[in-house]
Subunit: 250 residues, 2 copies
């Protein structure tokens, strides 16, 4: 009957030794499969080979496990965005777009994290640590927007960086939640989510008066060679599009 459990026990002894981490990993897998709503504390325990009560030695309750995952998610998110931004190299606009792609790549490649962070209904603002982590991630976008705003062409009024950051965030989040994940991803789109977001951001930047065919006007020359991209997306048009940010205008 229960020789399976006995065997498990035999293999690892009464004490698991690394249960907290095992639970986090198990939960991550389960959330990726069935979403944060479908994920079960008992399931995670089973998967780790311990009783249903064991997890309570490491997490106050199910929500705390979820929060821990969201926390980690925000940290990884931040580090990904930081890498993508790469302090604005080789030029601000290019780096800025790379951040947008990194956002989508994260949502696509780490569905469990993204789910826990943004789609689990978890009250982020009720948890100071979580809120701080979320803030830190957002600050990357904010910093990038700041740099971009500083490049505003002479004729145009300088847009508020905070507003730009919020706009970019909402575009990224909107594209990610609507088109880049789950079932809505199956909707037949005229272009990939990556291209959709890139076009959206480019049009937006142009609306602010930024030249959008790479390498903005101001400032001294920056190192021209493009470093290896962190995420290998679906491939973007290499040069600047002559007509518009989207493909051929029919």
């Amino acid at each position: 009957m229960s020789w399976r459990k006995e065997q498990r026990r035999a293999e690892r002894g009464y004490h698991h030794g690394n249960l907290k981490e095992a639970l986090l990993q198990a939960a991550l897998g389960l959330i990726a499969e069935k979403g944060a709503a479908g994920f079960t504390f008992a399931d995670a325990a089973r998967m780790a080979g311990v009783s249903a009560a064991a997890p309570y030695r490491h997490f106050r309750d199910r929500d705390e496990l979820l929060s821990s995952i969201a926390q980690r998610g925000f940290e990884q998110f931040e580090s990904r965005l930081t890498a993508a931004w790469d302090d604005g190299r080789p030029d601000t606009v290019t780096a800025f777009e790379r951040v947008g792609r990194a956002y989508l790549a994260f949502a696509r490649e780490e569905p469990a994290f993204y789910n826990a962070m943004f789609e689990s209904g978890l009250p982020v603002d009720a948890n100071p640590a979580l809120q701080a982590a979320s803030e830190r991630a957002f600050n990357i976008i904010r910093a990038a927007a700041e740099r971009l705003a500083a490049l505003a062409p002479p004729g145009m009024p300088r847009p508020p960086a905070m507003m730009m950051a919020l706009h970019i965030w909402s575009m990224s989040h909107g594209v990610a939640s609507l088109f880049s994940r789950g079932d809505a991803a199956r909707r037949k789109l005229p272009m990939s989510p990556d291209e959709l977001l890139e076009a959206e951001v480019l049009i937006y930047l142009r609306g602010l008066g930024f030249p959008t065919d790479r390498r903005p006007a101001g400032k001294g020359a920056e190192p021209p060679p493009v470093p290896p991209e962190a995420s290998s997306g679906s491939g973007m048009p290499p040069g600047g599009a002559p007509a518009g940010p989207w493909g051929k205008p029919k």
Copy 2:
């Protein structure tokens, strides 16, 4: 002890008479309060004054109740967007912005519907009826984008309407989910979600080459008086902003 239940029974007899509707209403209230994840089939039954098994005479399971709500949500959403669009009156750009505000207003005023539709993890594309309803709602945005695209100024290449529609949708959804609801709404923003979205859309449209200080160039004159707005938002700047779509540039 259970005279309460007996009394209920006495008031309405063995048969409820309108249980399906009562359950939908109860669920709507519960979802608005605690989110789709927290909503419970048993709770809805209790609220309607029937046993926990009764709902199964009207819905295959909990998910079907949720789907029904989402379905209704999409229908109301569609009719709201339709009203806001008002076939492009008094002019295309004004009507277009009204659609954006209607999107936010719906998310704010009908949190239960919005939650069921977009945040419940419900597999919309697995349910043909739901998918169709969602499609119909999106088609309003699509139609509006189509009309807008047709107004593209002579110099600019005509943007694909479908792409524009997807962009607008993602902006609206992004702003709504990030800033216009739940806990994230508490984040201290430099402007209201409505203003944020309006600025975002205006900048975007300007990026496409549209004149954004009301009343676009082309076409014959349309009736000038602005009809009463469907949603009384937080108040927009009345005329065209001289500097930019956002407020004063510092």
